[in-house]
Subunit: 456 residues, 2 copies
Amino acid sequence: MKNVKEYIEANKDRFLEELYGLIRIPSISSQSEHKDDMLKAAEYWKKIILEAGADKAEIMPTDGNPVVYGEKIIDPNAPTVLVYGHYDVMPVDPIDLWDSPPFEPEIRDGKIFARGADDDKGQAFMHAKAFEFMVKTDQLPCNVKFMVEGEEEIGSVNLGKWCEQNKELVKADIILVSDTGMIAEDIPSITTGLRGLAYWQVEVTGPNRDLHSGLFGGGVANPINVLSQMISKMIDEKGMVTMPGFYDDVIEVSETERSMLAKAPFDVEEYKKAIDVEELAGEEGFSTMERTGIRPSFDICGIWGGYTGEGAKTVLPSKAFAKISTRLVPNQDHEKIADMFKKHFESIAPKSVKVEVTSLHGGQGYVCPIDLPAYKAAEKAYDDIYGIKPVPVRSGGSIPIISTFEKVLETKSVLMGFGLESDAIHSPNENFPLIQFFNGINTIPYFYKYFAEMMK
Amino acid sequence: MKNVKEYIEANKDRFLEELYGLIRIPSISSQSEHKDDMLKAAEYWKKIILEAGADKAEIMPTDGNPVVYGEKIIDPNAPTVLVYGHYDVMPVDPIDLWDSPPFEPEIRDGKIFARGADDDKGQAFMHAKAFEFMVKTDQLPCNVKFMVEGEEEIGSVNLGKWCEQNKELVKADIILVSDTGMIAEDIPSITTGLRGLAYWQVEVTGPNRDLHSGLFGGGVANPINVLSQMISKMIDEKGMVTMPGFYDDVIEVSETERSMLAKAPFDVEEYKKAIDVEELAGEEGFSTMERTGIRPSFDICGIWGGYTGEGAKTVLPSKAFAKISTRLVPNQDHEKIADMFKKHFESIAPKSVKVEVTSLHGGQGYVCPIDLPAYKAAEKAYDDIYGIKPVPVRSGGSIPIISTFEKVLETKSVLMGFGLESDAIHSPNENFPLIQFFNGINTIPYFYKYFAEMMK
């Protein structure tokens, strides 16, 4: 690959302007009032892909938000790379914690601050620009296909079906994704494992209406007290999930792999300082990296019920609600766990309340073998740019669609992430360092180069 | 007492018209747009008291809404009865559930429908008319003082101070209050106990910002999980509060009194059906009436944290909050309990979170001994009118001002309530049966008669 750096240098302002145009569209997939913005973002992506040099690009409908598909076929016999990304973003609440408006990108301290700056507008956009570079400088060594969806943040609800219907269209030798992170600005890493996910809403109903807590308190089960008790019963004193059968399909990671994982640089004190907690917590007998990487977790993502306004209102409420999720390790089946939890949680409810569990969302975990040619190609590409071999890491996050790709398209994915932990994805003040953005555009063409060589 | 019934019969239409005039003033103390209505209601009460035959009546300012004070002193050596009531009412929301406008009293099925018809315009007004009867028929056996406040529904915030400043003025042998209920139209009861109250807000802080539940989940304490655990630890499997020292000042009620309480009619099946629960819950070894009457309770009045919107958002939140209250039995000191909880709750917090407890509100419980002369007088008065001795009951609710009277004025109160549970106080379609209204006016003069006899 010749003159990558020069090309980036010559076009960097334009790249940023184009990215800003995408970021300014508030494409929040979970909020129905942004329905029009989803279409605008899809249109914008179509334009990006075409202008970068694709033969064609189109907006393809699904039952939800459309998929943007584009391709450039240089040779039917050349290897094919399918680039996956998403144009939807997370909600911005709590809005008052943002230092600048979430959909007006602003550069401070060398970072782009905006919702989607990293996840995944910024990261997916790097692929468009790396592709543009290879096309414009006549160095593209593979066929390229783009598949950019608008429902990743709500569980890619329609993409699995779309893939089934378009298997031939998106056929590829590897799927290339930048929707993860690396350890630090100077320590590249490749995510080789992702956790799966199951997510429920629970509703606990006590009396049929809010009651006077004086006249009834002590004599009638309070659904918030009960919900708290039920939640607390889900985790034992060793930090393990108590649901029977929950760990049945968890593959214990070998001591060898655990000691490899332990070599990834990790400073407990810095980690605690960054999130300002005095002590970490989690499953007994595992390190923090293991707790978030190779072990399942159980988190209450939201809870509400009763009086939540200013001051004191005495009430024994009728209902309490929680949003509950577990992160699953690769061999755990999210549908099996979803049913398991529903049955279990309903079974531990006392008769003094009614409990309803609704499964909202789920996805399988994923493992990428480190001897895969595409993994090796990514490894060499990072090494070229960063001067250091990337560390294989297991991420605690979930990208459910990655395991769907494996199932439906029978194609592995390589997760070349350029995000940093400080990017605050899903949080106020999400940001993406310019150095990561440009290094990403710089690294990706080398992946194509090595991947093409290895596939010969 | 001669000719009470005749006097009521001859004046009933005028009584109702006068009460309606009071009810038509929308004196909602919690809503500042009704500030003028508070003054109008106070003026109206001054007029009622004067016209009923008081020597004097005046509107006395406080830092909030004024207190209406009036008196008739027949003899410095005669016993003095201080009548307490309030002219303020609760808000009317949800307004669309009312079958007639809340401030336009309407009689349907023998009941006056209006906000304040029972609580406490209707009930307090009975005392004015009973007083009028005794004055006009020359049968008043006691000195009478009226103290009608305008802030009961917002916690009587200024009345304690007003009492301290006017101790001599309101000096009395007993305080007489009709602001409670009786068991049924044909089963009179006198409330002999009120529970106290302590109320806190707790804030549990985990990480300094919302985290990605995939990347951090399992490795960092989730404040909602922790708050649920802490709440669940507050109650043991026997339904008892686990805070050390919590029961130290609880006076165990004797078996004799418990068996008296058990005689009050109570149908568990009807109670469950009314609130639509399959099973009741509470402290082991106590009946529902005891759990809500003579035992303290521990209720979460509100809880919130994390994502509470539509659909699934995966987040490991930074904070979780709860509004927590206990109802206390008479000998428990709410300030002692407030401190005790703060220390205890903070002490059971794991080091992985920070916990802050703020005390929001509190009040002492109250007990009226059933051998008090005033209690005996009330008992005989009900017996005369209803033909049955009233049942002493302990209410689970709190009227904090009653214990303030005891502390500041060193005077006991007798709670002669004529409300029924079906009166829907604080709710849409509040009402007060005419039979209760007129029976109340009929009963009260007998209280004065017997009280004067006993105090001789």
